[in-house]
Symmetry: C2
């Protein structure tokens, strides 16, 4: 066989930009399937608007308009426009903010926000370029006299913005309007729809007002049910207990402090001069007077080991702002109008040694809770991370895992048949998403355990109510269960013994029906069906 | 509330490198959990070695040595060394090849390979830097007189390699040796272990010889069972039926051809002068004499629409090279030594309109198939993409989805209790992984459907064999099923009527035991347990 040598192979060597990578692998950003792609687009823009409004201290007013285009093409083509009343984007930043992958104000800040990657808006632009070749139309102003509009493209070869038709605008408005043309997407209804995404966003953001106009012209207004902005999360100082050697070293090399001791006190949470004294006692070979810029890996490792041997006060929770019990109740009432609900807000916890997070959970019963099935209902799980609804990748999410691990029957809840909604929101400075598309929280043990505790607590709150509901139909179910066995046993006995099935059945029914005279009518047919299904499984 | 204006907010604006992004989000590369992180490291290096050997026409000989380090630190620290007999990396490329994210020979080529992202090796380096602060030690040679060794780091701020201690080596060897120090990982046994990863790699690469030395010094040699290299996949020409407007436009603007007609014929598969004639008839407004560099989005869109109205010959399968039925049989016999197996190789198909792929499936019964449970066995699914075993993210993978959608009882197979292994390998020029960590194939309908067909075909092949096995225990199971109902019904009837449960039970047993005299002993206890479990669910 002819072999190829390395020099020949490496003629093919190339470097690529992040934009090229995600253009080729758009499913990793959430652009897989027409329905999901449309939700991803709306999700990215709405999330950015909410973050921007809150950072600027503005009650969000957001409008989403989706129109189907008539262009005779086989591919589904839509325009999407999202506008907000936020702070706007300064003209000099617009290209970087909306048309560069891995750029933004959020990635490096240790602060609770919806966005944390610097990918979202640039990903939308990438998707419009791939599917329609069109730039995104932007109109923004940061205040009177600072308005402008332009068309934004993204040069995938170098991940740089392409700005065209920049025009100053002299209107008196403040905010951001983005409008794009996208194809290979589809407006759908149901559990994974834009409507559902916005409904859930309203649920977790009762302080926001959001209006959706769908391609049929149907307008849905989710009104603001709370007139206060959420408390502003503070930029957190990292907690020493969660630091890796590498993190510590990087912080040290960027530090302006003259000594390691002052660097530690200035940079990390819960680190006082007293603590420095404790650390000195734990390891007296550490030189706390050294210039932090000169810190070596070995120095850092010693410090991290000393951190582990110290008792720390938990991280300050002021960096994590949950929705709050009262607000969740108002929102659930507003959106689900349940017969009964129970809300739990847990205390802040930490994962990976030092990243603070807070879990809130609610269980709602009745009203618009759960999912309408052809016959009756089933339960559903409403997942949120930093108030952002997670609609996809259910199977790999820590919230689903936790909810499914719960033995619901202990709480008299049947997720298969009852109108139950389980609401979970995880708030954190850093949410460990399992993928770039940010649709699932990685299944870290500490997070799963905490979610379970929160949901179980909420479940206990509705247990008594559900039990009352349950008792009413208990006798009927009991009869059905017994009737099922009669059917099945008669049939099996018949098969085995050759005895007349009808006779056996009659004999067994005789025993029971004396004690359940009211139940017999109208239940038989259903009982028979269930029995037949069960047989198939039993004899598999 | 004090509002913050946009200028203040945008003071925080930053750009980040891909390296910084993945450093912060290492779980997206597969570095989540200590066990999985170790498997990811081995996976990245072994995959690169196999690709390199095959590209150079060399039968792969790969050695993996994992050693635990004794350093008193609380964090699990190991060295991992992977060496191969491949073509080596030319000195000038080593930094880019192993220490730059989004660089390599694979990303841009339309060709079936294991790697396709240009992330793997740089991700390993990132992980060693984060966890131990150490560079990777590299020794390589592309032939006599071209050997060298060096230490490689990665500057995350700009995603550039840092090369130190470069030394020429005058040994007569060819290949690549990488050795790194990693912490926060753990060598584990079981289904998600390095051993299992290598065992499965051997299964899907019978032409490779792989030796693993684990931290206990235990050596496992997976010998080469096939002495021929797989047929080399050819670089494919993209098929017109799968082109997006954007793709077509990008190809056109890079083209050296003078006319659109010759550009199309030169660039795309199955596109002849005759086809150009057909396309002209479909849309006579397209100017095929235009310079492809001048092609507009509208031109491209017209062409794509015309492509859709043309009948195309399916893509040439020479770009996709499956393992092959014979080789799979040899490998399965070698690794699982099953009592019975059935292998299916399907014809090439396409997804997303034009990307060719081939699915191979096998069902193996008995021997080392399936998973040993505390009592008995259960079935398992061995997932592969381009011969690479996929061990994690099972729930989100198209292969799991397809396998779980199959009604196994139709084939007399019970995945809960039988020693069955289902093997699936998907080969393609482009595998649509759901995440950057490449552990699951995105659930695209066309792929799921094809996998289902392949697995069902293989399942039919073992059906008769399993049925024979089954019949032997059929009567016993039948008795057990009936006995379960007797127990349950007696108990329910007792509860309802107040009748003596034991009496009811005896009466019912009387009917049956006459006809099943041999079965009674030794089955009762198990029957009772099952019935008790079932009761709990019924009365939930």
């Amino acid at each position: 066989m002819a072999t190829t040598n390395a020099d020949q192979i490496f003629k093919e060597f190339r470097e690529h930009s992040a934009a090229e990578f995600f253009k080729k692998n758009r499913q990793m950003l959430g652009y897989s399937g027409q329905g999901r792609s449309l939700v991803t687009l709306v999700h990215e823009y709405v999330t950015n608007s909410l973050d921007a409004c809150e950072e600027a201290g503005i009650l969000p007013d957001i409008e989403v308009v989706i129109k189907k285009m008539e262009n005779g093409s086989a591919i589904n083509r839509y325009t999407i426009r999202v506008s907000d009343n936020g702070p706007g984007i300064p003209k000099v930043f617009v290209g970087k903010a909306l048309a560069t992958i891995f750029a933004g104000t959020k990635f490096h800040r240790y602060m609770q926000q919806r966005g944390q990657q610097g990918i979202g808006a640039a990903g939308c632009l990438l998707f419009s370029q791939i599917t329609t070749g069109k730039p995104i139309l932007v109109k923004s102003s940061t205040g009177k006299g600072k308005g402008y509009s332009c068309r934004l493209g993204l040069n995938t070869a170098n991940n740089k913005p392409v700005i065209n038709d920049m025009v100053d605008i002299d209107e008196d408005f403040r905010g951001l309007i983005v409008e794009g043309e996208f194809a290979d997407i589809r407006y759908e209804s149901g559990e994974h729809s834009v409507y559902e995404y916005i409904r859930r966003t309203a649920l977790s953001n009762p302080h926001a007002q959001i209006k959706l106009t769908d391609p049929n012209g149907q307008e849905s207004l989710f009104v603001r049910s709370v007139k206060e902005l959420p408390k502003r999360p503070e930029v957190a100082m990292p907690h020493p207990a969660g630091l890796s050697t590498n993190d510590l070293l990087e912080f040290a090399h960027l530090s302006q402090s003259r000594k390691i001791s002052s660097f530690l006190v200035d940079t990390f949470a819960r680190t006082t001069q007293n603590k420095i004294g404790e650390l000195k006692e734990i390891d007296n070979t550490i030189d706390f007077d050294k210039d932090p810029k000169q810190m070596t890996w070995e120095d850092a490792e010693k410090l991290v080991n000393a951190f582990k041997k110290t008792k720390w006060i938990a991280p300050d929770a002021s960096s994590v702002v949950p929705i709050g019990e009262k607000q969740i109740k108002i929102a659930l009432k507003n959106i689900l109008n349940p017969e009964h609900m129970s809300v739990t807000e847990r205390k802040p916890r930490i994962f990976r040694g030092g990243i603070p997070f807070v879990v809130e959970a609610a269980v709602a019963y009745g009203g618009n809770s759960g999912k309408k099935e052809e016959e009756g209902y089933s339960g559903n799980i409403l997942r949120f991370a930093n108030r952002v609804p997670l609609l996809f990748d259910t199977a790999s999410c820590a919230i689903s895992k936790a909810a499914n691990d719960i033995e619901w029957r202990r709480y008299n809840i049947d997720m298969e048949t009852q109108p139950v909604s389980v609401f979970v929101n995880l708030s954190s400075v850093y949410v460990p998403y399992s993928g770039v598309g940010k649709e699932a929280i990685a299944q870290e043990d500490e997070i799963i355990d905490e979610i379970k505790l929160a949901v179980m607590e909420a479940a206990r709150g509705v247990q008594r109510y559900v039990r009352g509901k349950e008792r009413i139909s208990f006798d009927a179910n009991r009869y059905k269960a017994v009737a099922r066995y009669v059917k099945q046993l008669s049939s099996d006995v018949g098969d085995l013994t050759g005895a007349d099935k009808a006779k056996v059945e009659k004999r067994l029914e005789g025993i029971i029906s004396k004690h359940f005279p009211k139940m017999k009518e109208g239940q038989e047919e259903k009982g028979e069906q269930d029995a037949a299904e069960e047989t198939e499984e039993e004899t598999m």
